[in-house]
Each structure stands twice: as structure tokens, then as C-alpha cells.
Symmetry: C2
């Protein structure tokens, strides 16, 4: 199953004989709809009525983002709503202990994965400060395991994240160094790349959650917020460093993005990738999520990141049903 990203401004999407036909400035691509899981539209793209119906009938999610990655909404068919799964999701989450235990598993994995990213970059440099940061992060994992409530847990995770991003700034080349993680808007090139990557991952996970029949708004770590799909934020945690951070660090180290690829919005101070570079970034992302790895402890065969996300969400469905957080095995990189 694949995701179709349409970035060419003024493109037209139509459907014919069960195929999705994309006309991007005269270049026409035709894709059999049964291989498509989702379509992500950036900016000014026309989706015609035949395409709307084919997507709705075949349960292909369509997400509209602005060219900067701002979310507008999605086209939703009813083909995946599973009320029984949602009932068990809500029921499991009524138990505070359940939420706390599951949050510990996911956030502990998040910190572990962040620490591994730092370790990989320190393999050759053997920087003492980075060793110290890693130790502190591993210590915070212990605190997390002993936390007595969610707010304490989230507090420890916040401290670990600050340490982690400071370490990343040390690792980065001179022109990509940054003060701290900034969002809405990102204030520098590195944060801008992270934010755009997290947006792509967010809608990847959002679609997977909806297609798995769960309710994306009912989360177990992040506090309930109107209009915010917190379960998606929760399920992002174990993947952020694994997929996006490592991809962005890698792209920068290979000089794929330079400071002149960004523009600054004078009004907000927000820093964004230039339109023509977004395509390059999305290609990187697609290559990454399609690449195989062995990180899921419960599977012996290598598997793409995209497929692994699907497996993790399926496992979450099972965890809610059994009300047993211990059944959740997070992704842990090495």
C-alpha cells in the first residue's frame, strides 16, 4: 500500500476505470486505486468528483495540507469505523493505571530511541558531554518507570527531550545549530525540517489509526484537547527520533539541505523550506518509511517503517481489548 503526495501547484486529480489519474502541469500519472492507502494534497490541487467518489468508495483517505503543512481537513468514508474497537478503547482508558502503565512503556521507548540517535553520532567523536547527556537521559528513563502519575511522567519526558535536543544541536554542523526546539512556527532550518517531517508522520499515523478502527481523539498520554487527535500524538512518540530525527540529521550531514533552501516569514519569524525543496524532503521521507528494518522485537522478518507503524497500531487495538498495557512492545532501535 502506498501514499500519494501531490505537491505540484495547480495539479488535477481525477479517476477513470478504477485508477487515480494525476495531471501535474501536463505530466500524467495513472495509479491503480487498490494500491493506494492515502492521498496527501499540499496547497492548490484540484480533486475532481470522480476521484472523490473513488476514494470514498475504496476507503482511500484524502488529507488536505497547506503548502507549509498546515492541516485543513480530510475526506472521510465510513468504511473503517469500528464501534466495538472504540468502545474497548474508551473503556480501557477509563482506568488511570492502564493509561499510566502504557504511557510509561511508550515514553520510556521514546527516550531510549533518542539516546540511541545521540550514541550513533558519538560513535566516532567520543564527546564527553554527549556521554554525560546519554547517561542523564537513561537515568530519566528510570524516573519514568517509577513515576506515580501522568503529569510527573510527562515532566520527566520533557526534561529528557530538552537534553536530547541540546545534544542534537551539538552534533549538527555549524550553520544548522539551534537554540531549542521551536514549533508553530519553527524558528530555524533544523526545526523547520523536523516540523515538516513530524507533520508527514502525524498524518501517516492518523490515517493508520482511523483505518484500524480506533478513535484518533482519545489518547492515553496527552491530555484531552478539543479538536486535537491526541492518540496520534501519543503514537508518534516512539517513532519521532527513529524516523524523522535520524532522517533529518542524515540529510543535513549529506548536505541535502542548505541555509539558502529556507525562507523566513518576516511577520512571524517562522522559517520554512522553499516550495521547490519540499518535493525533495517528501522523497526523503518516502524513502525512509519504505526502507526495511528489524526493530520490532515480536517479528523476526525485516519490515518497512510504514508497515511497522501499522503493526504497532494493530497491537494497540489488541492492548485496548485485553486491557493489558504489558502486551504493548514498543519499537526500540539499537
Amino acid at each position: 500500500m502506498s501514499v500519494l503526495y501531490i505537491q505540484e501547484q495547480g495539479s488535477h486529480i481525477a479517476a477513470s476505470d478504477g485508477r487515480i489519474i494525476v495531471d501535474a502541469s501536463g505530466t500524467v500519472t495513472s495509479i491503480p486505486s487498490e494500491t493506494l492507502e492515502s492521498i496527501v494534497i499540499f496547497g492548490r490541487v484540484q480533486l475532481n468528483e470522480s476521484a472523490v467518489k473513488l476514494c470514498l468508495k475504496n476507503g482511500i483517505a484524502v488529507t488536505w495540507l497547506s503548502s507549509k503543512g498546515e492541516y485543513f481537513g480530510r475526506l472521510e468514508s465510513t468504511s473503517h469505523t469500528n464501534i466495538l474497537k472504540q468502545r474497548s478503547q474508551f473503556k480501557a482508558q477509563m482506568n488511570e493505571e492502564f493509561n499510566l502503565a502504557l504511557a510509561k512503556i511508550v515514553l520510556s521507548a521514546k527516550i531510549k530511541n533518542q539516546a540511541v540517535i545521540v550514541r550513533r553520532y558519538n560513535k566516532n567523536t567520543h564527546d564527553e558531554e554527549l556521554y554525560a547527556t546519554m547517561n542523564e537521559m537513561m537515568h530519566l528513563r528510570k524516573n519514568i518507570e517509577e513515576a506515580s502519575d501522568l503529569s510527573q511522567l510527562i515532566g520527566y519526558e520533557g526534561i529528557a527531550s530538552k537534553k536530547y535536543f541540546r545534544a542534537l544541536s551539538q552534533i549538527l554542523k555549524e550553520d544548522f545549530k539551534f537554540e531549542s526546539r521551536t514549533r508553530q512556527p519553527p524558528k530555524d532550518g533544523f526545526n523547520s525540517l523536523l516540523s515538516f517531517g513530524y507533520t508527514l508522520l502525524f498524518y501517516e499515523i492518523y490515517t493508520t489509526i482511523v483505518n484500524s478502527g480506533l478513535n484518533p481523539y482519545a489518547g492515553f498520554i496527552h491530555q484531552d484537547r478539543t479538536n486535537h487527535p491526541t492518540l496520534v500524538s501519543d503514537m508518534m512518540e516512539e517513532w519521532r527520533a527513529v524516523i524523522i530525527d535520524s532522517m533529518v540529521l542524515n540529510a543535513i550531514s549529506r548536505n541535502m539541505f542548505k541555509q539558502e533552501d529556507f525562507i523566513t516569514d518576516e511577520q512571524t519569524g517562522g522559517v520554512y523550506l522553499k516550495n521547490e525543496m519540499i518535493r525533495k524532503f517528501v522523497t526523503q521521507y518516502e524513502n525512509k518509511v519504505k526502507s526495511s528494518h528489524h526493530y520490532l522485537s515480536y517479528l523476526s522478518t525485516p519490515m518497512s517503517f510504514r508497515r511497522s507503524i501499522y503493526h504497532q497500531i494493530s497491537s494497540l487495538v489488541h492492548v485496548f481489548k485485553e486491557k493489558d498495557p504489558g502486551l504493548y512492545k514498543p519499537v526500540l532501535i539499537r
Copy 2:
């Protein structure tokens, strides 16, 4: 707030300066988006990208139906999802007694409203058989109040509905008489009109439920079914006879629809309104839901049916929050 129905095949919908612009075979209508609650599209209608974005940003629901009223899907923004309301909805519904008590209130009102429809038509005819049917229906209301579980309740409601539809067939003019209520497909003109009317009401209530922040898939009367929004079916019950049945009976008695206005699908035996008559039917429906009445016991001012549906769903939100079915006052016609 209004609902825009687009039935003209080949119409185009665009947006400009915050207005929705409809081009139906050259006739252009412009509607300020802030007055629009929802757009219902029948068949082959083009919604362009500017309109998609305006609808998503302003939380205007867009529903795609075939020209026969078959559901394709909807455009969904996140602007109304309220996870706290959904949590209280799921929590209230975990209690079987709560569901049973609320179902009794709604289904008892349904039967009462059906019986009133029959009584109105018997005011001049004084048919003995219709009197007997009304008495039997009122007796079944008592059974419903004493039912010990949902399946018993639904059983009694089914018997009452059979009696009711038999009475309607008696009331109807010769050429609209029918054997029994048939659906998917409807097998005669009367059933066809009812089905189309119920479809319009269904998406009216669906949109109201979503806009009120509740989960349309989690119902309290009808059993959970994958991909079926059972809460919408539940909340239809008190309105079916009040809005649709009375409207259809009235239209037929005034000769607005004749047997030659229908076509039969030879393959399925399904009977459908001809395309050119659908517009007439939708106009009838709009006139009906915009007309005022005094049927809500908790309000002293007259109010349109559309607004009343909104009030009833808001009241349901409160009932879930308080976990007190007794707070629900159903619509009861006189």
C-alpha cells in the same frame, strides 16, 4: 443556518471571498458561507479546491449521495470533535440500565407519534379498524415501559411499527397502497418516498450529531454495527413519523406525486423517484424542516423542526454528561 442541496447534474461549486458559488447549468448562486451549516451533493457535482478549503475551515459538512440517495461519504474538518463529550457518551452507555431507560423514552415517543399520525387521518373517517390499531399501539407503549431488556423493547417496537404501516396503507389512496415497509430497495412508490425522506433526515441528524461533538457510531438503542452510525438511527426514531411520514402522506393526498413519477429498476425491483421529481421532494423536505411548531415541551416559543433537532441533540449531550436518562424530553406531537 441552512443546508444547501445540489441536485443539478454537472453543477460546479467554488468559493470566492468567503462565499460559496454554485454554477448549475449557467445559473449562478452565491451564498455567504457563515449562513451554511452543511452541503448535500447528489450525484455528479464538482466541488473545487477553493470550496473544499472554505468548507473545511468553516466546519461546513459536505455529504456526497448518489442521485438515488446512496451514501458515499463526507468531508470532515476537525473543528467539532469534542473528546470530553465523547468520553461521557461512551461512559454513560456502559451502563445497561441507562441505555434501556433512554431507549424506552425514545421508542415510546416514537409509537405515540405514529399513533397521532393515524389519529389525525381518522378524525374525519372514524374507521373502527384504525381505532383498534391505535389502541393496540398505545397498549404496546405500556409493554415498552415495562420491558426488562433492549431486545424485548425492540421486539415490541417492531410489532407497533408493523401495525402502524398497515394503518398507513389503509389511509392511503388506492394507487399508493402497499404491502409492508420495504427498504433496500423500496418496492413501491410510498416506500420509495419514505426511504428518500429518511435518507435526508438521516444526514440532517448525522451532521447535527457530529457538529454537537458526539460520536455518531455509538448508539444506545440499536446494536453496534461496523460502519453504521447507530446513534443517528436512534435519534431518528422520535422524528420519523413527525417529519417524514406526515410530509409524505400530505404530499400524496395533495397529488404532488403520481405513480408515473417513479421508475422501477428491473434487476432489483427497486422503485425510485425520477430524477426530475427529486428536486420537488427536496423542496418539500426543506419547507417541512423549516416550518415552525410547538412540540418541544421544555420550550415555550415555536421553533423550526431543524432547530428542534439541534436542541434535542444538545439535550442528549447533557443527558450523557449527567448520566440521567430522565432528563431527556422527547418530541411528542398532539
